[in-house]
């Protein structure tokens, strides 16, 4: 499978996002990128939109639901939201949306800062795994992968998408020693 070029996707996403925000009457929304890939996509998207105001970065490590299984992410960094969340229209940006668990964690974290007026979800790639009822409002591309395939965003400059094959999570049960 050939993966599309992120720059092309982001150009279209900028158009779609502008149209959506206009249709909903949202002016000057606050942008927030989820570390790390989402931050890169946010940067490219803002450049495309010609917006120069500061955007926020979110590290959801402290809000993940897999702490008991996977523990703490070793390279957790502070979240940085250089504006109020309360009453604001937010655009939340991630690179690859699969299970929706990262977005669930991000929303929980955002609500600890305040009560936003709305959140528009933007994702470069939508893998449509639908483990949770979380769908992007704007997606660059929707892909259907087999269960052991993943897509990773490589960056920050230039951005490219890379296909990866992972060991199935249940391999231990499938091949008892």
């Amino acid at each position: 499978m050939t993966l599309p070029n992120p720059a092309d996707l982001i150009r279209q996403m900028a158009l779609d996002l502008r149209a959506r925000l206009q249709a909903r009457g949202i002016e000057a929304p606050r942008f927030i990128g989820i570390r790390t890939g989402g931050v890169w996509v946010t940067q490219a998207l803002l450049e495309e939109l010609g917006i120069t105001t500061a955007f926020g970065t979110l590290d959801v490590s402290f809000y993940r639901d897999d702490f008991s299984q996977n523990g703490l992410h070793p390279q957790v960094r502070p979240s940085d939201l250089p504006f109020e969340i309360e009453g604001q229209h937010l655009v939340l940006v991630d690179d690859v949306l699969m299970s929706g668990r990262t977005i669930r964690a991000a929303l929980n974290e955002l609500f600890d800062y305040g009560r936003p007026a709305s959140v528009t979800l933007v994702s470069l790639v939508d893998l449509n795994a639908a483990e949770l009822p979380i769908r992007p409002d704007i997606a660059g591309v929707t892909l259907s992968l087999s269960p052991n395939e993943r897509v990773k965003l490589i960056g920050p400059s230039p951005l490219s998408l890379e296909q990866q094959v992972v060991e199935p999570a249940s391999s231990l049960q499938e091949s008892p020693r």
Binding site: D59, F67, G71, L72, P78
Partner: protein, 334 residues
């Protein structure tokens, strides 16, 4: 005699991650740096309107204090609460042990309450190690200070203070002043500074309050404060531990202050941008002048704030290391 950590691997899991936090002795620089980096992120959480993250939701942290403490106990409580854990604190010195229950039985009872983590403070060196060896394997043990041996979270909060105010450790001169002999803080700080690459560590105190063989920590020893403070970037004052002081190690507190108290004049010997630290509680007019403790160079209250973030980092990393160890062991069984 200086306690050693022959059983050091006890506090690491099979992947070298923290599962207990007993002493800084033998921990690699990468791990200390990871603690500091994680603490930096928790410091940001502490500045929010909602100072809480859901990381340890459903876990139970049990503070077991066999020795009195206010700062350490409350900051551990706050740290656990900000991680959304349930917290209970037992001042054992005032409860069952006075009714004759042994340490071991007390712990068994706490385990039966399904605690996931013990934070232990004890007047005997090695108590935290002993407890870590004897609790059920999936319980994490954090040392909140044991006798004269170690106070690793204080050591790490001091390192976070230095890193945040001085940027790093590579070119620093750090002086630790006062009652080195009785101080677990001094021991943890000497080890941490050495591990993090501080090139000039000085310990300053009267001969009677310097442990025999302290040079083995890689420190320079001074018995004259004016000589030792020259051009240092960081001054760590220690509390004169009156409760541990028996047998005429000092002529008097007044004499100690005259020779080793940190006054404005003496602080002027250090670099102009030197910071002054103290683990608290401070004895004004015994080891530190009020004007210095409350002065512009003092970061004593910042240390308290950083202490919460460091304790959040250590609690979550140890809980994380325990979970990882359980996974490793389950996979080995399969």
């Amino acid at each position: 005699m200086i306690p050693t950590d022959a059983k050091r691997p006890l506090q690491l899991n099979d992947q070298g991650q923290l599962r207990h936090f007993l002493s800084l002795d033998g921990l690699p620089r990468s791990l200390l740096t990871e603690i500091l980096d994680t603490a930096d992120s928790f410091l940001e959480v502490g500045a929010r309107a909602v100072k809480k993250v859901p990381l340890l939701r459903g876990k139970t942290v049990c503070n077991v204090f066999f020795e009195n403490s206010t700062r350490t106990r409350t900051t551990f409580e706050l740290a656990a609460q900000r991680l959304s854990a349930d917290v209970i604190t037992l001042n054992v010195s005032t409860s069952s042990t006075s009714k004759g229950e042994t340490l071991f039985d007390t712990l068994r009872n706490l385990e039966a309450m399904a605690a996931d983590m013990f934070v232990v403070r004890h007047a005997d060196s090695g108590a935290a190690h002993y407890i870590a060896e004897h609790v059920s394997p999936d319980v994490a043990v954090i040392n909140g200070g044991d006798g004269r041996h170690a106070h690793p979270t204080q050591g790490m909060l001091d390192m976070l203070t230095i890193r945040r105010h001085k940027g790093g450790f590579e070119n620093l001169s750090v002086a630790i002043v006062g009652d080195i002999l009785h101080s677990r803080v001094a021991r943890s700080n000497m080890i941490a500074l050495k591990t993090l690459g501080c090139p000039d560590i000085r310990v300053i105190g009267p001969k009677t309050l310097l442990p025999v063989g302290v040079e083995q920590y890689g420190v320079k020893v001074y018995t004259d404060l004016t000589e030792g403070l020259k051009d240092v970037d960081v001054v760590i004052m220690l509390r004169l531990q009156r409760e541990r002081m028996q047998g005429g190690l000092l002529p008097s507190e007044g004499e100690f202050y005259r020779l080793f108290g940190l006054t404005t004049q003496r602080l002027a010997l250090a670099r102009p941008d030197a910071i002054v630290m103290h683990p608290g509680p401070i004895n004004r007019g015994v080891e530190i002048e009020s004007a210095v403790a409350d002065g512009a160079q003092s970061v004593i209250l910042n240390q308290v704030t950083y202490g919460i973030a460091v304790r959040m980092a250590v609690l979550s990393m140890a809980m994380s290391g325990q979970a990882a160890q359980r996974q490793i062991e389950q996979e080995n069984v399969q």
